[in-house]
């Protein structure tokens, strides 16, 4: 059953470690896994444990995982360097409905490392300008030290069909705004989008909650909004029960949910 065992991790080589910030590093790992934008995988270090991490980028023979060192497993992952081994299994869950977003005005609102699960999709739109009509990106970070993907943020700013707002919660930074992402929602030109748009929101639970409400307040219907959830998981295949919310399993039915569902999930 080895080849069919959905819980069996595969040892993979770390190709590169990029330090985005003090606590957020991107690990590029050798893998041929076929991953949809927004899906996640289980990363583990035998002896220590296993954690679900969303795929933040992908290419020929590699996958990126942008990880925050905030727990038992991730702290040990941070001791690893290029040439070391990480154990991988997956991908799991449903990613972003990219086909549904194609040809539309896409709005992406992220908080902190919430940028990671949308990064590969944003890059797809950047590299293939015809994917979406245009892309409005609002990315907020707690402070300068929390900024991730600095190079890409700079690069995305230059694209003609991108409109970007980068913000720090309280601090000032040249060329950046100050304030929570919710304060910039009212500036999104929804009236020029007609009916032809979609909004993606990813970040800490509190940020997603208030951004969702702010979008509704600005006349965005809930069926145009999408969110990605993060929960504790032990199996990622619908068995262990940790990620269940009501009758929904984040690992099977998510992590990406339409707001029509996400709004009514109560832990």
């Amino acid at each position: 059953m080895s080849n069919n065992n959905p819980l069996q991790p595969i040892p993979c080589e770390i190709l590169n470690v990029k330090k985005e910030s003090t606590h957020e590093w991107t690990f590029r790992v050798a893998s041929d896994a076929d991953v949809d934008h927004g899906q996640f995988m289980q990363l583990s270090i035998p002896k220590v444990g296993e954690v679900p991490i969303s795929v933040s980028g992908q290419g020929d023979g590699w996958l990126d995982f942008t990880i925050r060192s905030v727990g038992k497993v991730t702290n040990v992952i941070f001791e690893k360097e290029a040439g070391d081994t990480l154990f991988l299994r997956g991908p799991y869950g449903h990613g972003w409905p990219v086909d549904e977003f194609k040809g539309k005005h896409l709005v992406v609102i992220t908080g902190g490392t919430g940028l990671a699960p949308v990064r590969s999709m944003v890059n797809l739109c950047a590299d293939n300008p015809k994917t979406v009509k245009d892309l409005t990106l609002i990315s907020g970070f707690k402070n300068e030290d929390g900024i991730v993907f600095q190079n890409e943020l700079d690069k995305w700013k230059e694209h003609d069909h991108f409109s970007t707002t980068y913000a720090l919660d309280n601090d000032e930074k040249e060329g950046w705004s100050t304030g929570l992402v919710t304060t910039f929602v009212k500036d999104i030109p929804f009236d020029t989008f007609g009916d032809d748009y979609a909004v993606v929101v990813v970040g800490p639970p509190i940020m997603m909650k208030f951004t969702g409400l702010e979008l509704l307040k600005n006349g965005v219907p809930e069926e145009k909004i999408w969110m990605s959830f993060e929960r504790k998981m032990s199996c990622a295949i619908g068995k262990c029960g940790h990620c269940r919310i009501d009758e929904t399993y984040v690992c099977l039915d998510g992590p990406v949910f339409p707001y029509t569902k996400a709004r009514y999930l109560v832990d």
Binding site: C235, R244, L252
Partner: protein
């Protein structure tokens, strides 16, 4: 086919079966109970039929046979991963009707909810079931209202009588052997509970709005989040992964899964110190609604089998049937607020 076997003949049947089966049954562990001078009834391996506890309900369910409390999944040696070996022998498990219905719920979780779980599947394939008839209701059980009082998907059923057992055999492979050992052949139907003292009514209109009811607040003070209700429940199946190493150089280790409880701290912790459902009332709500609402929305039938073990075990005397029976008023409360 139905048979009457003397105790001696039953023991011969078990002896033959034990050649290629492990036989598990609820049995009495003297002095192993929760209080001084009390016994514990739980599943264990048996040799002879007199070890089967046919009168009292077991304190724990059969589930540890199908989903071990701690189960090794993988062995790691540096970069090598090796899957643990499955069971060599088949098993026969004696259990009651409510528990046999719980097997269907475990199958639902492990085989149908997402991809099949290979560890569960390899154990499940080797297990046969012997139903112990219930000639009267147990204390706290409400199987009749949950529709789990009757079963027919057993391999054999047993009902003790005089110095032997009435047996209904539905496993053709065992029919010949039982026939040859039987004192007589006759139609047998296992006894079933037809009435419980405890009654429950799950409101027809029950939906997620009931979360907003004030009924859950009661449990914030009463529940001490010990998780015992989860561990005795035959349908609770949550687990956590656990890695441990056992060599001096730390290079060899194994990954296990161990039982987990939604009532206990840490179940819903996320990276960075966050957690969901901090309050015991919220946890009671989460567990209760899984048993009588959420599972049904996915699987089409209720999860709770009404065995009543959670009521038996609770150190705070919280009654789960009592909780179910509050849902009607709770729905009234939240729908009138709307």
């Amino acid at each position: 086919m139905g048979y009457y076997l003397t105790r001696k003949a039953m023991d011969s049947f078990l002896e033959r079966l034990r050649e290629d089966h492990i036989v598990y049954a609820p049995k009495r562990f003297d002095g192993g109970g929760r209080f001084s001078d009390t016994d514990c009834v739980r599943h264990g391996e048996i040799q002879t039929s007199d070890e089967i506890e046919t009168d009292e309900k077991s304190d724990f369910s059969f589930k540890e046979i199908l989903t071990p409390v701690s189960e090794t999944l993988f062995y790691f040696t540096e970069n090598e991963v090796r899957e643990s070996e499955g069971p060599q022998k088949a098993a026969l498990v004696f259990l009651r009707s409510c528990d046999l219905h719980a097997v269907r719920r475990l199958d639902e979780m492990y085989l149908n909810n997402g991809r099949p779980d290979p560890y569960y599947a390899r154990l499940r394939d080797k297990i046969r079931f012997a139903l112990i008839g219930c000639d009267q209701s147990c204390e706290n059980g409400f199987c009749v209202d949950m529709g789990t009082n009757r079963s027919d998907n057993y391999d054999i059923s047993i009902d003790p009588a005089d110095d032997g057992f009435y047996i209904d055999c539905r496993n053709l492979e065992w029919d010949g052997l039982l026939g040859s050992l039987a004192e007589k052949e006759l139609p047998v139907e296992p006894s079933f509970v037809t009435e419980n003292e405890v009654r429950v009514q799950i409101p027809e209109d029950l939906d997620a709005r009931v979360m907003n009811s004030s009924m859950w607040e009661e449990y914030e003070g009463r529940c001490i989040n010990c998780g015992r209700c989860n561990f005795v429940c035959p349908t609770c199946s949550c687990f956590s992964m656990q890695d441990l190493f056992y060599t001096e150089n730390g290079k060899a280790c194994e990954r296990r899964r161990v039982w987990s409880s939604c009532m206990v701290d840490g179940f819903a912790d996320v990276a960075g110190g966050g957690t969901y459902r901090r309050k015991n009332g919220e946890r009671m709500r989460f567990k209760t609604l899984h048993k009588v609402l959420d599972f049904k929305q996915r699987a089409g039938y209720q999860m709770c089998v009404g065995c009543g073990r959670c009521d038996d075990i609770c150190p705070e005397y919280i009654s789960f049937s009592g909780c179910i029976n509050k849902l009607g008023d709770a729905m009234q409360e939240v729908t009138h607020e709307d």
